[in-house]
């Protein structure tokens, strides 16, 4: 996009009359390197310099495999639950007017504002077998606290704003004329929703889903209280990294950390590809 000056030489930036580029750019890069890139480099180098045998042994530990399954499985389930309920919430907040709508709208960001340790101890209290919701569920024979279901509940809470806040602008940007046209042509409400509305908001829904999923995989504070942290059953990946550190197994911790880092980047890549594909498809249809 930039870089070639009129004389064919290489330039970092295009000329501008505004001052301060060197200072702002230099400070940004230096600060980014010190705070973010340096610790991530330490993680990558520490994991990469480990003997291959040790890396494979760490990855093959049954406890690690169980934690991977739980972290990714629960995050996937929670993101799916959020996709459904988040869509309903975003729909209600953008399409209907009712008393308390603005309060409800402001409440969506609570998981961003509430420290995770606080939501963690609150959730385990609510969903424990003596808790407000837990005792009612216990009557139905459902145990939530200290099971994988509890992990999922915590990840649902954490993921709510990601789905709702991504869907809201997409729903608001949708041209009402499209839905009205479908209705005037005799489409039923659900037909209009499935054939007109849903395709238009699918990229936003997928983005919100993946953001919630990625956050869920790495979440620690709100999960560890309700999880119970039983080895092989309710241990999540971030907890396993902390356990390795407490055992002074720095290499093992770095290997698990790098694995999770790579998996999060793969997820972000997937969502970017999905969105590009969706945009192309919509572009062709339109």
């Amino acid at each position: 996009m930039v870089g070639r000056s009129g004389h064919g030489g290489w330039r970092l930036r295009e000329p501008s009359v505004l001052p301060g580029f060197s200072l702002a750019f230099g400070y940004t890069v230096l600060y980014l390197s010190l705070i973010v890139l340096l610790p991530m480099a330490a993680l990558v180098v520490s994991a990469a310099s480990a003997p291959l045998g040790q890396v494979l042994a760490t990855l093959a530990e049954p406890r690690v495999l169980a934690a991977l399954r739980l972290s990714f499985g629960a995050a996937l389930l929670a993101a799916s639950i959020n996709a459904v309920f988040g869509l309903i919430v975003a729909w209600v907040l953008t399409r209907y007017d009712f008393p308390g709508r603005r309060v409800l709208d402001a409440l969506i960001d609570l998981p961003f504002a509430l420290p995770t340790a606080v939501s963690g101890i609150a959730l385990v209290t609510v969903f424990a077998e003596t808790g407000l919701v837990g005792q009612w569920l216990a009557g139905l024979g459902i145990r939530v606290a200290y099971t994988w279901a509890g992990v999922t509940v915590a990840l649902v809470l954490i993921g709510i704003p990601f789905v709702v806040r991504t869907l809201q602008p997409a729903l608001m940007a949708l041209d009402p004329a499209l839905e009205e046209a479908a209705a005037s042509l005799g489409a039923r409400r659900w037909q209009t929703f499935l054939r007109v509305t849903l395709p238009a908001i699918t990229p936003a829904l997928l983005t919100g889903f993946t953001l919630a999923f990625a956050r869920g995989v790495g979440e620690y504070g709100s999960v560890i209280f309700i999880a119970g942290n039983l080895p092989m059953h309710t241990e999540i990946m971030p907890l396993l990294i902390i356990i390795k550190l407490e055992q002074f197994d720095y290499t093992g911790a770095a290997v698990l950390g790098l694995l999770m880092l790579v998996l999060s980047f793969v997820m972000l890549l997937v969502i970017n590809l999905l969105q590009a594909w969706q945009r192309r498809r919509l572009g062709l249809v339109a």
């Binding site: 996009m1 930039v2 930036r13 295009e14 009359v17 505004l18 001052p19 301060g20 750019f25 940004t28 890069v29 600060y31 980014l32 705070i35 890139l37 340096l38 610790p39 991530m40 330490a42 993680l43 309920f85 309903i88 209907y96 009712f98 409800l104 402001a106 409440l107 969506i108 609570l110 961003f112 504002a113 509430l114 420290p115 340790a117 606080v118 101890i121 609150a122 407000l132 919701v133 809470l157 709510i160 806040r165 005037s184 005799g186 409400r189 790495g218 979440e219 620690y220 504070g221 209280f225 971030p238 990294i241 902390i242 550190l245 720095y250 911790a253 950390g257 999770m260 999060s264 980047f265």
Partner: protein, 286 residues
């Protein structure tokens, strides 16, 4: 469309009734979902805090360890928020005011901490400055504690709150454009004069918005700080970590008392954030 008239009307009459039912059903589902996942846990914190009366609540808050934790959290936040605000302004000035090579890469790298598990952030710093880390021995020789001390806690908090201000300011400054700054230049204003007299007044609400979010996250961070803190009571325990310690010691009421302070902070954050959004038309982009 004469033929469509009667069809629409009939569609309309039963449709109106069904529409109202659907509306009620969807609003009910949204309220129930958010009530269960957000309001009930929030109410539980305050109910739990006051479970043994106001006297016990007061005592839990003026406990020396609790006060030390509050002091540490305030000191950490007082260091982290200004540093990340300064960075956010510099990054936004470089990215929104100039065209240069690698701009997209830089923007992606700035957002990276949002995609990384806080536990992995903490792990990166342990691998750098911990006993077995890259600079561990060097720091130990000079008797400069980083891990299990204030510097480590500050660094971990800097990492997780890194993008908050930059993320608000970059799109805001891109939207505002550079015309006014260029006009100021042509009138002979210097770089700092332009920044303080032209740019800053335009972006002040964006800065405040970013600072509020950064502050809430800095005070509530758990996972990253848990890795580097060492949980030394009265010394390296922030408020969220103190909540964890109290809860794990089966002192749930004291844990909830401290958690209620953090929850109040979260509620104040939401109120301020929403007020700014209404006043300025700014909208959260999370």
């Amino acid at each position: 469309m004469a033929t469509a008239g009667p069809v629409l009307q009939e569609h309309g009459r039963s449709g109106q009734w069904r529409g109202r039912l659907l509306r009620g059903l969807l609003i009910g589902t949204a309220v129930l979902f958010l009530g269960l996942m957000l309001l009930v846990p929030l109410a539980t914190v305050f109910a739990g805090a006051l479970a043994r009366g106001i006297g016990f609540y007061r005592e839990a808050l003026i406990d020396p360890d609790a006060l030390a934790a509050m002091r540490l959290t305030l000191v950490t936040t007082a260091l982290v928020v200004p540093l990340n605000t300064l960075f956010g302004i510099a990054a936004a000035w470089a990215i929104a005011r100039f065209s240069f090579r690698g701009k997209n890469v830089l923007t992606t790298l700035i957002d990276m901490p949002f995609a990384i598990s806080p536990v992995i952030a903490g792990l990166g710093y342990v691998l750098l400055f911990g006993a077995g880390g890259w600079f561990g021995a060097w720091l130990e020789e000079r008797d400069v504690p980083v891990i299990f001390a204030l510097p480590g806690i500050v660094l971990a908090t800097l990492f997780v709150t890194f993008p908050y201000v930059a993320r608000e300011l970059i799109p805001l400054m891109q939207m505002l454009g550079t015309e006014e700054e260029e006009a100021a230049i042509s009138l002979g204003a210097g770089g700092w004069t332009i920044f303080f007299r032209v740019t800053l007044p335009k972006i002040q609400w964006g800065v405040i918005y970013g600072v509020i979010l950064c502050n809430a996250r800095a005070m509530g961070e758990f996972g990253a700080v848990a890795v580097v803190s060492g949980h030394i009571r009265g010394l390296t325990t922030t408020v969220p970590l103190q909540v964890e310690i109290l809860y794990n010691e089966y002192n749930a009421v004291a844990a909830f008392a401290l958690a209620s302070v953090l929850s109040l902070l979260a509620v104040v954050t939401l109120v301020l954030k929403t007020t700014i959004e209404w006043r300025t038309g700014l909208r959260g982009r999370h």
